[in-house]
């Protein structure tokens, strides 16, 4: 199975230093697990300039990286789509969102559309099933969804996927980086002003706002009696039956 992992130029959220995007390293680990099982290769693909963060991904389990040289402000879609059409990988993996650029997570979807491949989002595990692959998607609240995709396909990986492989310096040295000129196209222009990030308060409580500071403090700290059912020294079995009755609607259905 031929797997291509899309790499983006990552930046550390606090220091701004170049580093690989963690979720892309998790995508490499998922691809590597598939290849160790089935045979094949896991390559990296990056459009832009050779970035130290991209080169470091070699140490986490990539065989080689292709860098398509385009301008810093160019839209990477045409270059990536042309390269994917040329090397025809069975599976294109990407992180659900980059860290360091626009971080919108839109590129894998545009790529899937321009290459006419199905896309599944937020994978936590991938298993081959003949001409298809089974993908387990992350859902909130501890739920997972199993979907099947025709290959060739594009899959984005969620942060809840298994952890990335450790960095191996020998692999970093042994891996090769091939630089090619890419077909850059000017990106759609949008008037954007970038400012230092300012954390905004999150809404708390159902209404999201309510009353004075005193009322909000009381709502956060006060124990309110709900006037529930009280069983004093019941038979253990009766207590167990009452508990099971109470939690019946919240237990997972598959059990």
């Amino acid at each position: 199975m031929k797997i291509l992992v899309l790499l983006s130029a990552g930046r550390h959220f606090a220091s701004g230093a170049p580093r690989p995007v963690p979720v892309e390293l998790q995508a490499i680990a998922l691809g590597r697990a598939l290849v160790d099982d089935q045979g094949g290769s896991v390559s990296g693909l990056h459009a832009g300039r050779v970035d130290p963060s991209v080169a470091d991904a070699l140490g986490h389990g990539l065989d080689d990286i292709t860098v398509l040289c385009i301008g810093a402000e160019d839209d990477p879609l045409p270059a990536l789509a042309a390269e994917i059409m040329a090397c025809a990988p069975d599976l294109v993996l990407a992180g659900r969102r980059g860290l360091g650029g626009s971080d919108s997570g839109l590129l894998p979807y545009r790529l899937a559309r321009s290459c006419a491949r199905p896309i599944a989002a937020d994978a936590v595990s991938i298993a081959p099933q003949g001409e298809r692959i089974g993908v387990v998607q992350f859902l909130p609240g501890g739920r997972r969804r199993r979907v099947e995709l025709k290959i060739p396909a594009v899959v984005t990986v969620h942060e809840a996927a298994p952890p990335a492989r450790n960095f191996v310096y020998r692999a970093r040295l042994a891996g090769t980086i091939e630089e090619k000129p890419g077909a850059g196209a000017p990106a759609a222009w949008m008037a954007i002003e970038a400012r230092p990030y300012r954390a905004r308060p999150r809404l708390i409580g159902e209404g999201g706002m309510g009353g004075s500071a005193e009322e909000r403090l009381r709502a956060a700290t006060e124990t309110r009696s709900v006037g529930g059912r009280l069983m004093v020294h019941p038979e253990a079995d009766a207590a167990a039956a009452a508990i099971l009755d109470c939690v019946a609607g919240f237990r997972p259905a598959s059990r």
């Binding site: 919108s104 545009r110 949008m190 008037a191 009696s225 709900v226 253990a236 508990i243 919240f250």
Partner: protein, 347 residues
């Protein structure tokens, strides 16, 4: 010389928190039923793509409708809620129209094709999505179909300015709100004004696109693997529990995620990652079972948003007993053994 005023100084109590107010100037309240706002001739349309599982808007959906109300030009626009099935409470949440996409199950490609067709047909000024796992996926599918930029995870919104984080959260992008926007959770307040008169709009027929994606059903992850803040059902042990292997067996048998009080973690019986409370994890669970936990204020803060609490404790006067929907005054071990027996496992 001016005379000294004999009445107390007039204080204007803007926030209505008590204090001295001049009641003589206030007209007696008249009983008026809340009227519904109707927008007969909308100047433009705003689409909100809601998740609405089971036809009920989620908290995040309401926030997206609240965000749409910020863009409506002072009540000139009609907010249209697009959901998979019919939505019951859209008017109170601030929506003027609802449109049913008639999607059953998980069909993101079909849903995106329908939404893109409706956007081309009705030309709304903005389309707002919720940035959850499935909502964000749908937003990106629609953006790629329309070949338009998506301003995702918007944290602050007005008619002139949308703000989203970028570059690993180090900068924020300020821009005029583009057409496609997705709203970050718990950042924009839901609509709190008068309810809108909500009517249903019939969506046009769209042919089903050829799909390479097939749904094989929702499965539950192993409860022990779920991060505590995402768990739906949590079983927690405190100082009243001694037999921790039995506690963990019970959690597995119940399908609950194990948690612990600070005392159990401090004593080293359970890992620190399991701690529930102000210095541990704040739960988002639906149901919480406390075994041998008295309910310190810091612990109760951790279960502040849990609706259904079950407590087993030997002390009738423990704080958790007042908080619990079902409170059992008994030794936790006897109840744990009885629960395991009822679940068909040997204690």
């Amino acid at each position: 010389m001016a005379t000294v005023a004999t009445t107390p100084r007039l204080r204007i109590d803007w926030a209505h928190r008590g204090g001295v107010t001049d009641h003589s100037a206030v007209a007696p309240p008249t009983e008026i039923a809340p009227r519904a706002i109707t927008i007969a001739e909308p100047a433009f349309l705003l689409f909100v793509v809601a998740e609405a599982p089971g036809g009920v808007l989620t908290r995040h959906d309401r926030q997206a409708i609240g965000a749409a109300r910020l863009l409506d030009g002072g009540g000139a626009a009609a907010v249209v809620v697009l959901a998979a099935g019919p939505v019951s409470d859209a008017g109170a949440a601030g929506a003027d129209l609802t449109m049913t996409l008639e999607i059953e199950g998980y069909e993101p490609e079909f849903a995106a094709a329908k939404i893109a067709t409706l956007v081309r047909l009705h030309a709304p000024r903005h389309v707002l999505f919720v940035e959850s796992e499935d909502g964000g996926d749908l937003a990106r599918r629609v953006a790629s179909l329309l070949d338009e930029p998506l301003f995702d995870r918007v944290e602050s919104l007005s008619a002139r300015l949308a703000v989203r984080p970028a570059a690993a959260g180090r900068v924020e992008w300020h821009a005029l709100p583009p057409r496609l926007i997705s709203i970050a959770p718990d950042m924009i307040a839901p609509y709190h004004g008068l309810p809108h008169a909500s009517s249903e709009l019939v969506a046009s027929e769209v042919t089903r696109p050829e799909t390479g994606l097939a749904d094989a059903g929702v499965v539950s992850a192993d409860a022990a693997d779920i991060p505590l803040d995402q768990a739906g059902l949590v079983l927690a042990a405190g100082n009243g529990v001694v037999d921790f292997p039995m506690f963990l067996r019970l959690a597995r048998a119940l399908g609950a995620t194990p948690g612990a009080s600070r005392v159990a973690c401090d004593a080293g019986h359970l890992p620190r990652a399991m701690q529930v409370g102000a210095s541990g994890t704040l739960l988002n669970a639906n149901c919480y079972i406390a075994l041998g936990i008295s309910g310190a204020p810091q612990h109760l803060q951790g279960i502040g948003s849990v609706e259904h609490v079950v407590a087993v404790n030997t002390d009738l006067h423990a704080a958790i007993i007042a908080r619990a929907e079902l409170a059992i005054i008994a030794d936790a071990h006897a109840v744990m053994r009885a629960l395991l027996a009822r679940l068909g496992q040997s204690p």
